[in-house]
Amino acid sequence: MWPLRELYSAGLGAFALGIAGGIAAHFGLRSAQRISSLFSVFALIGSLLEGAAAVGGLRSGGAILWAVPSGVPYLTYVVRLDALSSFFVLTLALVGAGVAVYSAGYGKHGAAAKNPALFGALLNLLLAAITLVFTAGDVMFFLIAWEAMVAAAYFLVVTDHEQAESRNGGMLYILMSRAGTGMLFVGFLLLAAPAGSTDFRALHFTGQHLPGGFGSLAFLLLFLGFGVKAGIIPLHIWLPAAHPVAPSNISALMSGIMIKAGIYGMARVFFDFYGALPVWAGMIVLLVGVISALLGVLYALMEHDLKRLLAYHSIENIGIILMGFGAAMLFRSYGHPDLAALALIAGLFHTLNHAIFKSLLFLGAGSVLHATHTRNMEEMGGLIRRMPATALYFLIGAVAISGLPPLNGFVSEWLTYQALLGGFGATTEIARVAFPIAGALLALTAALAAACFVKAFGIAFLALPRSASAAQARETAPAMRAGMAMLALCCVLLGLGATWFLPVFDPITNQAFGIAAGHRLVSGNGAILSAGSAASGTVSTLMLAVTLVALSALPLIIWLIWGRRGRSVTGPTWDCGLPGLTSENEYTATAFSKPLRMIFSVLFRPRREIQAEYEISPYYPKAIHFESEIEPTFEKNVYEPLKDGILRVARRVRWIQAGSLHAYLAYIFVTLILLLLFAVRG
């Protein structure tokens, strides 16, 4: 018997110790700096214990750990570790452990070093709050945990609050989050009122039985509310503003696991609270997924700020996850539980994979930021020689996020393709055409992501240093490297060992669709991944990797037979006859993405300005000033008018706030009367 409850509470206890110790040290000890890595140890222990609890939850199919009444109506502290919760807690544990190890070395750097103890406390608070979000089994308790998570993340985003950019990013984040929570509140109320209970167990498969349009309304509100947190387009604008300004280990946690809280909420609502939803619901989720994926990667391509680039890729990957979710909802509507299970596994597996490689990439970006003191890729370059370990881990993350074999990103994208292809046979309506087209757009997204990571890795790590600080960069602390190494290893293991991991999804699909689909995807001798009967196709990342290594021996043999006569010399790179290649000759990130900026100019509406100063003739410019920017479509066309509208309305109704106490008392009185009338009538 797995000691679920003990492991879970010990994990939360470790986080609590980290929180309490951090606060105590911050206010009590002047030498908090010296023990700052201690709080990362608490985070690590807590993550590992929660991971162990999650493994137990997945093995046993889940359990209620506690149900403690609070004394307040409609609030019961239900903690439940069912299969879905366990899976997300496991994701949190893997990411949390890597980030905690990294943080042990990171705490001494940057803005976090000013209040290291408080920072450690908040880190533990964020992990604890997300754990509670994943395991809360009651609506009100869930919302409390949700708000604790939002608050902890806000304080962490504004760690560097002396910078206006951090404050603005944090403000946008908290505003959007509040709007999202508002929608969640109403959505949950609509859902829970007819069920007469706020316990998650009571809400199982009740959504579609709601009267009238309430079911659809609640679905939309919950989708949008969770969508704000997940960063779906067009609710994404806080994400590229808030993630880059946070300390990098916090960016890793936010992109890796916190936005997955939105995905968790959607999975809970779509596949637990609702049974078969109408077709339009699945179509909306699929469409939002496609749009988020494609626009996310296109905006990422235009970024030269390494961390903003990664933040836009989070939007892209949330889109890929939602393509899996949307397909799963549609397949259930069409009555194909086996396909639905495949699509859900694709979405959930991509959730885990993205959590791992995105936090790895953010940690890598953090190391680069620490070494070069800039987030601007145009000022990096040549880091592979100065930071070889960071470069290797970043490359592993880049290959994984580009969906290339044999790493983990490929496996979940492959599953998504198979699910989408299977969808063509799921119905005979014209809607079936949507599935292969979504697949083709997923292919475009993945190819653009590969282009973007060629740019990110090639410009930041390869060739010559583009600035003095890049030339003086040094490899980061051993703990930071260890944290990245752990996550890089996860990318490799989840890629090569995907078939051994897939049975983890059995209890989840069993709970949602009554099919234990995970182990059915494994065929042959256990190393071959098969999409099943509905969408046939096989792949084996392990065998592909083994064969690749074996085949790369072939050119070596050929070379040894014929090629030994030639001598290999190292020489200067050809520079068109100029006196020596300098970093100014190199292709820049702006230049690299120029063809795509031109091709998708309808979306980007690029604007550029070139000023050149001449001395003798136009062929010998003395100085050139180049400026290029793209139009932030959503900010300009959606949020600016919205902001203006809200301000205009606010000005109109300002007279209500007259400053007179009598008036306010009158308002309260009128409200009370109205409520009493409502109560009497109702």
Partner: protein
Amino acid sequence: MIERFVSVIGQAAMVLLFSPLIAGLGKALKARLQTRRGPGVLQPYRDLYKLLRKGMVIPDTASWIFPLTPFVLFSTTLLAGLLIPAVSAQAPLSLFGGVLAVVYLLALGRFFLALGGLDAGTPFGGLGSSREMTISAIAEPALMLAVFTVALGAGSTNLSSMAKAAVGQSWHFLAPSQMLAFAALFIVLIAETGRIPVDNPATHLELTMIHEAMILEYSGPYLALIEWSAAMKQMVLMTLLINVFFPYGLSADASPLGMTVSILLFAAKLAALASAVVLVETANAKLRLFRVPELLAVAFVLSALALISTFLFGSRG
């Protein structure tokens, strides 16, 4: 087990040894069409042999990505060649991955090749990498949608199943969905293998080149591996096209006679497709870089039409 082993070795040898011949055939035919004498058909073999025996100049700005790239490119391309059916409907390593694995293995090779282009720090390498990644990205949806259309007809993304499904139906390729998908894939083939009107494999003018710019810093054996991989990639994609759309003559058994006939047929079909590519190349001028997306948009529309006609007339139609 032995049989599987023999087929792996056989197909690997065929892809390795015949791919330069197809490249040479194309070059010779193109020279004839331009009323030049041109090099002999065997010239690519001589080039590879010569390059393998030469010394190398490694740029002093390059990192370990630079020497790694030729090996990654070579092995991914060769492995892709083992996943597709060539002379027999059963591809040697079919179980290891279907058409998605082929596309993504080629993408892995391209990923490293583009990094190799950036590694030396010359502007040409960056220019080539940028254009290569751009064009391959916008070719991707057309490629995938056309492949999906065929896969939906066969009910599988496994290439052996796709070839077998096509073998079973005579005059299958005359179905509108098949013809449209073939047209789309033909355009993608031209883009992916860097032929006119998308890229000019014979140019070293910096403003027009794509692939050649990326590999400008490579020399000697590394260059040989890259050139060889390019020839293999061309053969892999052509084989894919041939055996998915015109699989007639794929041997069903391993009898010597059946194998001989199917090898000859396969060679004839490859030669025909290579000639078609050369004809297109000779009859057209190279497009401006920013006109290429329009060509690939045509390919995407063709494959979307293929999909819709599958919907209208049924997958077997």
